[in-house]
Symmetry: D2
Subunit: 356 residues, 4 copies
């Protein structure tokens, strides 16, 4: 089945292909009475928008969002919020190569195997263009959890990681990489530009931290907060790994090294002396920061020729021309943030449902 | 909310606490006509069963499963299959410590924060004992996907990894660690026994490979095969990270290094020259092996004292006595296998629904 | 698919066959902290229990419920509540007739057409015995909506209706028919006994009224309160029709006749001058009484021979021996009440999720 | 919560208000490869379109549907199909009355009670205008069940029923009432025109028959085919009752009167000698015609003054001016047909999922 709905009570349904007339999202279950206009959404779309630097695809999309329903006199009504973004720069290029042969690493072959055929224009539904819908919906989700601050950034590109000692949140907006380490950002300029000129691509790691989440959100057992985040992040194009807190590093530790000891804190809440767990225990938030790490593979759209087969099963070779991101992880930052917001909004409402 | 159901059309609902009279699972949506008896389930439970070596908890649970519904004359009827496992060895110990103070790293504090109180006996619902229900249901799921072989094993304990060159599937059953590398298994005996004697615990990495999955299973966008696997694995107790294929390693590569080139293969299917993607592209299976890696943290139940607070918010210290696994990842192997089977069964049926 | 789960956030999953070892329900999403023991459930099961008069089946089932999980120290924990009822009086009769030939009006043929075979013992999963699980779960649901009173009764049997002028709620418990009209009850004794002696059966209408539901519960558009009630009631065995408020009678009226005018009432709530709508407008409760009417067909299990075919497709005739209710609608009363409670509990929590 | 999604694997999500810029539907889970263009949908919208006779609202809406996604080169791709219908004739009238005071029988008060405020323009989300989205989606659903024919018609208006002896399917398209009885249609001209002139409104009964449904579709226990149909129909604006087969009439019968005897039929299928059950037994189709009856109340939008209260709780009186249907049941015919198609498409795919 094609399940294009995410969430349990705060629910996002997305639709649209890369080269159709538009893409969009329907947000259902939003609480009523929240102030909402296009201006609340647009900044997040602008953050994700292509064509803003040479380190992202040169496709020019204004990504202007329209709210078609669910808002009356500037406030959400509690009914579905329909968001639409028109596709503008669908370059009338020749998709002959992609139509005929499969791009390894892309969804081309898998879609054909599943559906018998596919919309090959720009990847169709499997295009990362869909993530604009998520970002738009994520902006609505943020309004549902005003107590939460969500901060995403790139922590590594092509294996070159930031130095935690240099971490400066204020730096994130100062470079084209959402990088909190000015020195790393400088290195990445060279690194990513090199890959771009080579017609190659680079993987990246995105980290996202949510602060202000109260203890108690989450839903054992199969809608655990961490399970929902894992699902949310793994559903993003090019993502191959998700960690909560220390993630795989925790697997190398002993119990006492991995402990997050607690002390009496201020105003009744405990003070934690560490946060190996990433703010989640037993699938439920502990009141600490929620920390997620997400691995983006290098995009498969490269100018280096790769061995492949045609739809007819014959041997071929393919070069993926076109306007592609040399490092898709960069523009993944607002998408991971959006998914974090969507999960937290859903879990907040679920918690309220059961626990009042 | 408490969402104790997993899956979309092949659905598992589990119930039960560590120290209640029983635990169980209801499997709904199972195709009719499959041969099923307790004997098809018991071997998988035995694999997960505690008390089988000194490297697992000494709790003695026969974990005998009973089928209470959904099977008639040895075949599934298409109606819900109710599976029940009685709790036998609920040692009448004093839970006073755990009732009064929170075990850091455990769900104790989070459950109290969410629900206002909790069943503190043995972790209650947050106990890994629940995973026995998953293993039982996973055995049913395997019958739904007979074309698939699922193989799980431990690939690292406490940071000590197997040598891929030594990989021998036949070794997995020969040691107490589900370890495919005899040399690593020998090292782990010492390592895990040391941690056990220290009253400490160790993290581990579990890998799971499914072969025989045809191309085309999966469901864009939010029920992608990899998103479902991520959710499934992250919902297991103590899991902090999930990777598909190369996972985080892919984030360090360039596009051409990460490519999975294709060639014409036998009987119409492509031959892939690599499997960095772990058998999934665009959320849909490619016909290659599905590869998942899962990080288990060291259990927080250790004899080393940890700073904590009481329910009343006062400073305290806690030692978690009782019968605990020094390395919960070991017994995670059959659980990860079960979740793999559950996801694949669900996706097979979903694919059949939409694509006939 | 076999969807044995009802509800969206307060969810009921039932399992079990008429002649298996047990039947049961898992209630998920129940708020924590509610006082709950078997004693809160048993009275409702006793109301539905067979064998209590000559007007119901003579099968003797104690229907003793056991709570297997989700309750700790007498209070719900917020985790799944597993309820089990053992089948005791599974008479070791010969089901040869039913196994070989289809009972018209029963699910026999439809189940075989769907699943290829069926558990024919006492109707298997399609038996009304499953409704005991609903009644048990409904008792839990009532605890979630303590502000609501739910009252069900039989308003007609075999076309012989109560006289509204005689309505006396106190009468309902005074006869074997849940009849609020003592005169009708007296007539029904003769009517139902006659049908029973003839080996025939009678249809009935059950009405159910919920008072105390505040304005605002319900969920446009496809989870409207009335749509959920319709689904809930139509899912009960033998039900063929559902009305909200005036139902089909409203279809004969003019707008002004059907109006429910409003006046300023006490403490801010409106006073309604009529309740044609049955307490629901636009799928949302208005604060008036919720009124539902449900049509039960006469059971198809009769001693009158009916033309049928065998599994092999040959002409035959069948008489349904065994212990059957001459009027299944009677025991439908606690079941309709339970479904009302389940829907209201779910909608209350859903409302709280979205609207705080 | 606001659940604007209908269906389990073939799923419809609708959005939009009566007086917003547009309304729409997202159809998810549609099988790939089906030929689909706007021309397949438009005729059904035209059937429902307002302003086509004096017996329906005079609002002029072209109801031109646009397909925004999910179709490539004239065929469905298996990805979400986004359908949009622009609102054109949103007359810039004064909604002051409706904004200030509640129209009894409408959702006005209930929406305010739930959400704290509402979009009062033309009923907002609670307007029957939303049903255009259902009709558009229903047209897609029909393509999923090409083996099924769905025929809806009005069987009674204001208590004046058709004569079954006059039933002629060919007549349905010959009058403004979807009436299969030419004599009744002639009477209704006078009846409905009278109500219209009086500023009043009339209730109606819509019947819908689906032929060609094979035995075996349906899903015990809570997604029974009849339960799904009941939910689907009861979710339509103004509907107050739903019957399957004989419905409430069955409640007046004895078992032998209500029996649907079976005989060996042609090519292996049974021949049924009656269809009291409306083609469904145990929640599963029997291969007979599926018969549903739906009661529509008279619309509450009348020119007759009705006592009411203002938002501030003060006594008032309201006359609902504007362009309203004197008998909303008439235009309910294509809506009921659409819901029938949606349920059957969903159940067909669900059946295929579980039973292959």
């Amino acid at each position: 089945m094609s399940f294009n709905t995410f969430g349990r009570v705060f629910r996002l349904t997305t639709w649209g292909e890369s080269h159709g007339p538009a893409i969009g999202a329907v947000v259902d279950g939003c609480p009523p009475g929240l102030a909402l206009s296009e201006a609340d959404i647009q900044p997040f779309l602008d953050k994700r928008r292509p064509g803003t630097s040479k380190f992202t695809t040169q496709r020019q999309e204004p990504d202007q969002v329209r709210i078609l329903s669910g808002v009356f006199e500037g406030r959400t009504t509690g009914t579905p919020i329909s968001l639409m973004i028109e596709n503008v720069d669908q370059r009338s290029k020749d998709y002959g190569d992609v139509a005929k042969a499969y791009r390894p690493g892309h969804a081309d072959y898998a879609y054909d195997a599943k559906y018998g055929f596919r919309d090959y224009r720009g990847g169709g539904r499997s295009s990362a263009r869909e993530t604009a819908s998520r970002v738009a919906a994520g902006a609505v989700a943020r309004l549902v959890v005003p107590e939460v601050s969500i901060l995403g950034y790139v922590s590594a590109i092509g294996g070159d990681a930031i130095n935690p000692a240099n971490f400066d949140a204020a730096e994130i907006g100062n470079n084209a990489f959402f990088c909190p380490d000015a020195q790393a950002a400088a290195r990445w300029e060279i690194l990513v530009d090199g890959a771009r000129k080579d017609g190659s691509s680079l993987g990246a790691v995105v980290e996202c931290v949510a602060t202000g989440v109260p203890a108690g959100w989450g839903a054992p057992l199969y809608a655990k907060l961490d399970a929902e985040l894992a699902s949310a992040c793994m559903s993003i194009n090019a993502v191959k790994g998700v960690e909560i807190g220390d993630g795989f590093a925790a697997a190398t530790l002993r119990g006492e090294e991995n402990a997050d000891p607690m002390r009496p804190g201020e105003n009744g809440s405990p003070e934690f002396l560490a946060n190996h767990a990433g703010g989640i225990a037993g699938g439920i938030s502990t009141g600490q920061s929620i920390r997620v790490r997400v691995a983006f593979k290098p995009t498969s759209s490269i100018l280096v020729p790769v061995e492949t087969i045609t739809r007819e099963g014959e041997a071929s070779e393919i070069i993926t021309k076109g306007r592609h991101d040399p490092c898709v992880g960069i523009r993944g930052v607002p998408v991971v943030e959006a998914m974090m917001a969507l999960v937290l909004a859903d879990q907040k409402l679920l918690h309220r449902a059961q626990c009042g």
